[in-house]
Symmetry: C2
Subunit: 333 residues, 2 copies
């Protein structure tokens, strides 16, 4: 295992300490339980936004805490759900009296623990809504999840809901933004290489030198098909083809196109992929109104990419363009 | 070779086409010769900033073109210097009548070609100053370079000079900012893995499963020492120790601390490294006034990191905090 770490069992704690030291202007970090909380939380009268999930997907979610995005993130250990207590503590820490939205990626462990935390919070008098994001079209059920997994669209949901909450929308309206993303967002990923969870010390799966996995999950769960390595053109055809068919996206639709790196893929390759995606969509009459290119929801050092398409309208575009000030995503502030 | 590309010989062109499509709001891209140019260039009365170098180090330099940073970037092929003609064309494209600064990383090929371009531009009546950044303390002379290589401090120079130029400073003053960075900035890197230039199709060097290279160059040039893999704590001790000794940085000094990923290293590891760096410097009484954590000057998919320390004062801090709006670095705009 080749990693820039100390003891494998301390990676998440030490990472969080690093975030606390680097971004004290944006967030405060709790180590017991693990929480990354917006510096000025709770913001009175604003809907609070909480997300979380296993670590190893950085900058998601801790890097998305700040103005215009999340109020708190609950990181679990690597690829491990956060606990109900942890989520409850975050919910209480960000409740400014207007209720709290839980943005939950569809993984069975996350769902159970967020549900339990929501119940406990309601018992303490906090209004909580939860929206589950399930955008991965690759497989119907997978190793850890009933239904579709929640992946790249979650990044977009956090940005868009964050802007809606800053605009003063109420809990139901902010939750509606998240439901819009879940309804009109679709993702699929692929891997060139595996990744090594620090505590395991070995790869979660093996790929031969000339193989790739199409439809991979962000924990390395098997996807649709293992096949010989193909060109960026053909890979984008497979991924974007599946997305467009699924919703479906149609000629004249305007989308946000998100090309995401899985952690070990350099930016030069992501731009090659973006070029292919633009050509693919343009050819179908689908218009890219906004885009995001970079590594935002990762799987440790896995090489590969995912593509997310989200159908946009004028309201969604305005929310996307609104200021955001987090370690992982920042503009206009 | 496992990469998200099409034909290896088209990688740079297709990447630039991807940048053009993704960031049309920020830049225009020329494919003959390769140039990424700020949308509103030339900005009348502002000093123009041009940098460039081999591709494979993204987001450097094309991702740093925009308000508050570069006016143009000249990408060569992967790990290959841009040509004098290319640099001349960029210089002419951004000349707003206040002169043009060339920010040059110290690589022999880059130096020669930037010098020739500067001469040609002067013959056409454009005032050009060039500052060479040579911040890598690892080795004195290396495979491609006489003297110290120019690495991470170049990112900081581009940001700081960009802000100075936006503030209306003259050519000499903007060049002085760059000279300050060269004088007071120090860097050193290390690699866990090698990288594969697309046209070569094989790794530039080999590292065993339990080995790392300390003092590596961004083209995979040999560094100070190949040794057994060590902890993040010990690696930071070696890198930061060399930097602090070299300038030297002393107790009471305020620095910008930059932890950079080499392309294949995930953010979770960079924060573990940042934590170690903070502890190392705090222990020596050196104060981190500002920081930057992420992959900004890379070596394709190489796993590893570099650390850059830059001595700061109030003027430099104000320039760092000034708005910047580029694909790779953005805040306050």
């Amino acid at each position: 295992m080749k990693k820039l770490i100390n003891l494998p069992e301390n990676v998440v704690r030490e990472e969080l300490e690093g975030i606390a030291l680097a971004h004290a202007d944006l967030v405060r970090v709790s180590l017991d339980p693990y929480m990354v909380i917006r510096n000025d939380a709770p913001v009175q009268g604003k809907v609070g936004l909480v997300s979380g999930g296993g670590s190893g997907h950085e900058p998601m979610h801790g890097g998305f805490v700040g103005l215009g995005m999340l109020d708190a993130a609950c990181p679990g250990e690597v690829f491990t759900s956060p606990t109900p207590d942890q989520i409850l503590a975050a919910t209480k820490a960000v409740d400014g009296g207007a209720g709290v939205l839980h943005i939950v990626k569809n993984y069975t462990g996350d769902i159970l623990n967020f549900e339990m935390a929501a119940e406990l919070a309601r018992e303490e008098g906090i209004e909580v809504e939860a929206v589950v994001v399930a955008d991965d079209v690759a497989v119907k059920d997978s190793l850890y999840t009933a239904g579709r997994r929640g992946v790249g669209a979650t990044v977009l949901a956090e940005k868009l809901c964050g802007a809606a909450a800053e605009n003063g929308l109420g809990l139901k309206q902010v939750a509606d933004v998240c439901r819009h993303v879940d309804e009109f967002g679709r993702s699929m990923g692929m891997a060139l290489t595996s990744c090594v969870p620090p505590s395991a010390g070995r790869a979660t799966f093996e790929l031969a030198d000339d193989e790739m996995e199409i439809g991979i999950g962000i924990h390395g769960e098997p996807g649709r098909e293992r096949m010989k390595l193909a060109s960026a053109h053909d890979i984008v055809g497979m991924l974007a083809g599946a997305l467009v068919e699924d919703l479906p996206f149609r000629a004249g639709d305007e989308v946000l196109a998100f090309v995401n790196g899985l952690g070990g893929t350099p930016l030069i390759e992501l731009y090659v992929v973006y070029r292919e995606l633009d050509r693919f969509l343009t050819d179908k009459g689908i218009i890219i109104g906004r885009n995001l290119v970079g590594s935002y929801i990762t799987s440790l050092e896995m090489a590969g990419c995912s593509i997310t398409l989200l159908k946009m309208d004028a309201d969604m575009t305005a929310l996307w363009d609104a200021p955001v000030k987090t370690a992982g995503l920042r503009w206009g502030a």
